[in-house]
Symmetry: C3
Subunit: 202 residues, 3 copies
C-alpha cells in the first residue's frame, strides 16, 4: 500500500496553503447558479471607459439640449471673493447622457446610459469640485447602476470611489479615474471616466 | 500503525478545498467575543422591510407635520421646460419617520427610526429622482445607521446601494429595493424599502 | 520510511482549518509587489485622529478666512417653525482645512489635507445634520482620498461611514467617529474625526 512520506505531506500542505492564499484573485464559490465574488487587487475584474456629457442650462441654451441646471443662486461668499469666480457653493443637478465614444449621442434624452446626481463647486480662488452620482445602465449590454462619489480637483487625472452597485453591478466596488476630455466655459464639459471595478459579483 | 493511502489523502484534500471554497456563506472567524464577517451572495444575511414617510412642507401644511423641505428655488431650466414640470434641479432635505408598518407613526418627531438626507429631482420631461441618506436606528431592536445612495427612476421597483453602516450595522453593505407604496402629489409619499444586507459583521 | 498516523493527519488538517479561519486579520496574498487586502474586524488596520476646521462665511467674516458657504436660502419651513431655528433644509458647501493638531493651520488655503463636500441641517426643533464629503490628502505622508457619509445628530459621539478611498487609501472602508471639539455659534466649528479603517489594501 502506498504511503506518503512526511516531506511529501508537508509539501502538499504547503502547496494547499499557497494555492489558497497567494492567488491575486480569490473566488469564493457560490451554489450552482449563484453569485460568486471575484476580488482582484492588482487588475480590475471589470473595466469600462465612458464619456459623460454635461450641458448646463444657462438661460440662452436650448432647453431640449440642456442636461443639467444650477440648483442654487450664487453664494454671498462667491460674490465677495472673486470675479468672475469659481462659483464657490454652487450645486448643479444633472442627468447626463453617457456614451462609449466621444461624440454626443443623437438623442440626449434617450441615451441608454446616464449619469444622475449632483456636483458642487468648492474652490474659492482655484477651480475645485465634488461629485456624487449614479451611472444608470439601461442598455442591452448592461442593466443596473454604479454609485460614485469623490473630489474633483483641478488636476489632469483624479480618482473617485465606486462605492456600490446594483443589477449587473450588484455589490461592486472600485475606482473611477476622471479626466476632462473637453470643455467650453461652464456650459459644456465632457468627462472621460475610466471605471475600474476590483470587487465584482458574477 | 495506520497509514493513509494516496487516494484517501487526495480525497481528503479535495474535501477540504471544496468545503472551504464552495459554501455560499463564508464566515471569517474572529477572536472570542470579536466580530465575524458573514458574506452571502445569494441570500441576504439580514433583511428588513421598512416604510419611509415623507411629508413635504408646501406653505399650507402644518409645520409640525412636515418632515421635509425644498431647499432650493425652482431652477431656470425647470421653469423653461415644463408646466407644471418635474422640478428639475430641486433639492429636498428630509428627516423622515421610518416605520415597520404602513401606518403613520403617532408622533412624527419621536419615531425611533428615521431617514435623514436629501433627494433631488432630475427629470426634465419625466419623473426622475436621486437619493442619498442615512437610516438612523435608535430603537430597542437596533442602534446604529445604514448609509444609502442611488438613482430613483420612475419604475415600479428600483435598487439603490447600501454603501456602509455603523453600530449594529457596522461595515454593512447591500442593496435596498424601493417601491412607492403611496403618494399624494408632491406633498406626501410612502416609500417601501426592502433593505437586504449581503455583508454583515456580527 | 516515516508515515503519518491517522490521528496526526486529522490534527494537521484541523490545525490548518483553524489557522485559516480563526485569525481576526485575514490577509489575502497578492502577487509580489501587488496589493494585499488586510481585514480586521476588532481593531482597525489604520487609524487617524484629524481635526476639521469649518469657518462659515456669514457676510461679516473675512472672505479669505472663510472655508464654507451656505448654498441655499432659508427654507419656508425653517422660517415658519422656529426662531432663530436650526436652519432646517440649509445646505452648506465646504472646503475645510484638516489638521493633526487642534490649532488652526497658518494658511487656511494651503493646508495639505482638506475636507470637501456638503453638510445639511435637518432638525426642526433640535440640532441635526448630515454629511457627505471627501478627505483629500496631498501631504508627504499620504496621497489619496477617503469618502465619508453619514448622519450627524446632536450627541457627544456619532459614527459615520467611510465608504471608499483612492490612492494610498485604495478601496478602504471603515468608520469615522465624530466629536464636536469646539464651536462658536454657526460661524466656526472644529470637528474631531477618529477615522478607523477596517479594510485596507496595502
Amino acid at each position: 500500500m502506498a504511503t506518503w512520506s512526511k516531506p511529501s505531506l508537508i509539501a502538499a500542505v504547503i502547496f494547499l496553503l499557497v494555492s489558497l492564499l497567494s492567488s491575486a484573485s480569490v473566488a469564493n464559490g457560490g451554489r450552482s447558479g449563484g453569485r460568486r465574488l471575484v476580488r482582484s487587487y492588482d487588475e480590475p475584474c471589470k473595466e469600462m471607459r465612458l464619456y459623460l456629457h454635461d450641458i448646463l442650462y444657462d438661460y440662452s441654451n436650448s432647453t431640449s439640449n440642456s442636461t443639467s441646471a444650477a440648483a442654487t443662486k450664487p453664494t454671498a461668499l462667491s460674490a465677495a471673493v472673486s470675479n468672475p469666480g469659481f462659483f464657490f457653493g454652487r450645486m448643479v443637478v444633472f442627468n447626463d447622457p453617457v456614451t462609449e465614444g466621444r461624440a454626443l449621442p443623437p438623442s440626449l434624452e434617450e441615451t441608454v446610459v446616464r449619469a444622475q446626481g449632483l456636483y458642487l463647486y468648492d474652490g474659492k480662488v482655484v477651480f475645485d469640485a465634488w461629485f456624487a452620482f449614479t451611472v444608470v445602465f439601461n442598455s442591452t449590454a448592461h442593466q443596473g447602476t454604479l454609485n460614485l462619489m469623490g473630489a474633483d480637483p483641478n488636476t489632469e487625472m483624479r480618482d473617485i470611489s465606486v462605492v456600490g452597485g446594483t443589477g449587473d453591478f450588484f455589490m461592486s466596488r472600485g475606482v473611477a479615474t476622471l479626466r476632462t476630455d473637453a470643455f467650453e466655459g461652464f456650459t459644456y464639459f465632457r468627462l472621460q471616466m475610466d471605471i475600474k471595478l476590483y470587487e465584482c459579483y458574477v
